[in-house]
Amino acid sequence: MNVDRFLGAGAILLAIPVALASWGFGVGSPKSPGAGFWPLLIALVMAGLGLTLILRPTPNAGREAGESRWGRFGISLVTLLFYVAAIEPLGYLLATAVMLLAQLRWVESRSWRSSIAIALVTAVVSLILFRVLLKVSLPAGVISLPRGW
């Protein structure tokens, strides 16, 4: 599949609902443009460029040989989504340590010992650096932090 053709088709498919929605915002007239004027303009240009890409695509960029590691990619995404869900209820320290542990152990295949050590040290050091020293507000969550932290 040619990347340009795919992008072009996507652009046209996207342009249609954008144009319809823009109509709903109120297009106004060129003399007094409404809120939908600009997005409608974008949709029209997008559709035009999409058509250009379908008609005159450039060949795909080459990619160096090498195996894909989809398993690790998937685990990595799951840990990120876990982080989104966990940072406020569990707190920065716990959520960060768990995410780092999962990344180090399963994505990067480090030993349990070094994964646990790196994850814990990094989580604590970054908490001190950002929350305590730089006063960036990070959620404390379930762990009660020392006074003044």
């Binding site: 990347v3 340009d4 992008l7 072009g8 652009a11 996207l14 954008v18 929605a21 915002f25 109120g26 007239s29 060129p30 003399k31 007094s32 443009p33 409404g34 809120a35 939908g36 004027f37 600009w38 997005p39 974008i42 949709a43 997008m46 460029l49 250009t52 890409l53 795909n60 960029a61 990619r63 090498g66 894909s68 590691r69 989809w70 690790r72 990619f73 990595s76 995404l77 990120l80 982080y83 989104v84 940072i87 406020e88 920065y92 960060t96 995410m99 780092l100 990344q103 180090l104 994505v107 990067e108 480090r110 790196i118 990094t122 970054s126 950002f130 006063k135 960036v136 507000s137 990070l138």
Partner: protein, 505 residues
């Protein structure tokens, strides 16, 4: 205030202990992330944005600028020693730099790229200083139509210059415009594309967008497909180039400075473009083109000078017109806006400290980098030996932390992940993301000035823009850039047809 007086005032600001520390930190962090493949200046600035809120604005900008030009110095180190570009602007340095290193001439290659960077960077700052006040004064007279024409010109250049192909670049830029249109519209207060989600009413933030696409996207790509790291060559003892090296590099450095500055001030003229063009120019004018690719020092000196000159040149449109010409500068614009400073022609009048403080700090920073780089190159190379398996989770942690801390928003973290996936896909399929980010920043300004101009025109006729000289010229230029390939194609066909008929007749 005359330029010299203003510059002295700038030095007075830049030489305070806090700001001096900021220059040093910026230059140091910049060199480190320049050395590290996979973590460029864009992702770094995005990560640091939350921290800069608590800092004094001038100090924050001085540090951010230092990271940017520091990265250009650092990027060449890995190109030469490991044949891996630390960031995009050093890709061409690999060609001859690594060859020089293999021939045991890593020292002169590293030394010449540091000296070239210093000369190009410094000359370019002089030019920025001389041109900016003049340009800002001109831009003060701009009304909405002129501003729109200028932004439109920038938009076309960005889409046309930075994409893999013109149409693809412009399409990505249009997607950026669309993302920029999300949220409550300024004039009528209509919610656009928010799907009833409160978070989207303020629009998508630049930080989650940039961190996702440039930071997380890169990391995810490396997780899916890890590239083998080449052998690190021995760190050389002496970095001093020979007299012969200097003789061969003098003209490439001079040309690189001019070319780099010229490209740097054009929207879309990223340092990477400057270094590529410099390499092409040097190869063409050289009396020994056959040496290129086999360790010609001109192929290191020219591009490394040009990318630093372009880096400094980019500050002209940013500080005088409020137009960022690449994604790093877009983040500096965001930092200024977070501090309540509106970059544009008024910056020089209303916040002279910002302008002159940053300019003066850039002179200091370039000297610091030269002093820092030459003796400490061995140390920077050591950073490369930190296993990627530790580095990558740490970078992910910083990205997540930065995304959350900016507004204490879990939605920002989620947005970062979504754009991280988008960035991964772009990298995977060879689609250049820069036009998207730049258009995202320019979009609201474009819309605002277009609406104002159309209302001003009373008729809504687009020809109104051509009834004013400045906007007319700028729009014509933009159209010229847009249709240039068509013109060239027609011209070639015409020439071919003419010569063919000439032969047969």
């Amino acid at each position: 205030m005359d330029t010299i007086g203003a510059l002295f005032h700038g030095f007075a600001i830049a030489l305070t202990p806090g700001n001096l520390l900021a220059v040093f930190l910026g230059a140091f962090i910049g060199t480190v992330i320049g050395v590290l493949p996979g973590l460029g200046p864009t992702a770094t600035l995005a990560l640091l944005l939350p921290i800069t809120i608590g800092m004094d604005m001038v100090t924050a900008l001085i540090m951010m600028a230092g990271i940017y030009y520091g990265a250009m110095y650092g990027g060449s180190t890995t190109s030469i020693l490991v044949n891996i570009p630390g960031e995009a602007a050093s890709v061409v340095t690999c060609i001859d730099g690594y060859q020089m290193a293999r021939q045991g001439r890593a020292g002169p290659a590293l030394g010449m790229s540091a000296f070239g960077s210093f000369i190009g960077g410094t000359l370019s700052v002089v030019a920025v200083m001389l041109i900016s006040p003049f340009l800002a004064e001109t831009a003060l007279k701009f009304g909405a139509p002129e501003m729109f024409a200028l932004l439109f010109f920038a938009f076309i250049c960005i889409g046309g210059l930075t994409g893999r192909s013109r149409a693809q670049g412009l399409l990505m830029a249009t997607v950026g415009l669309l993302l920029g249109a999300i949220g409550t519209d300024d004039i009528q207060g209509v919610d656009r594309f928010t799907f009833g989600w409160l978070y989207l009413q303020d629009g998508i933030g630049l930080v989650p967008l940039a961190m996702g696409i440039f930071g997380l996207g890169e990391i995810l790509y490396n997780i899916e497909k890890r590239e083998a790291q080449g052998a690190i060559l021995e760190t050389p003892k002496s970095l001093l180039p020979t007299a012969e090296d200097w003789k061969r590099s003098a003209m490439p450095i001079a040309r690189g400075s001019l070319l780099g500055f010229g490209i740097g001030i054009i929207p879309g003229g990223m340092p990477a473009v400057a270094s590529l063009m410099s390499y092409a120019v040097e190869k063409r004018v050289s009396r020994r083109p056959e040496e290129f690719g086999h360790g010609a020092i001109e192929g290191v000196a020219g591009p490394e000078t040009a990318n630093n000159a372009a880096t400094a040149g980019g500050f002209v449109p940013l500080l005088t017109l409020g137009i960022p010409t690449n994604s790093v500068l877009a983040l500096m614009l965001a930092a200024m806006m977070l501090h309540g400073v509106t970059p544009g022609p008024l910056l020089l009048l209303k916040w002279p400290d910002v302008f002159w403080g940053v300019i003066a700090s850039m002179y200091i920073g370039n000297v610091m980098l030269l002093v820092l780089n030459v003796p400490m190159i061995g140390l920077f190379v050591q950073i490369l030996k930190v296993p990627y398996g530790i580095l990558s989770p740490l970078i992910i942690m910083f990205i997540m932390l930065g995304a959350y801390a900016l507004r204490n928003s879990v939605s920002d973290v989620l947005t970062t992940i979504v754009f991280g996936l988008a960035g991964y896909l772009m990298k995977r399929f060879g689609v250049e993301p820069a036009p998207l980010i730049l258009a995202f920043v320019l979009g609201p300004m474009l819309e605002n000035n277009l609406s104002k101009s159309l209302i001003m025109s009373h008729t809504g006729n687009p020809l109104f823009f051509f009834s004013r000289p400045i906007s007319g010229v700028l729009l014509s230029l933009a159209i010229l850039v847009l249709i240039y390939p068509l013109v060239r194609w027609t011209w070639r066909r015409w020439v071919r047809a003419a010569s063919a008929s000439g032969i047969s007749g």
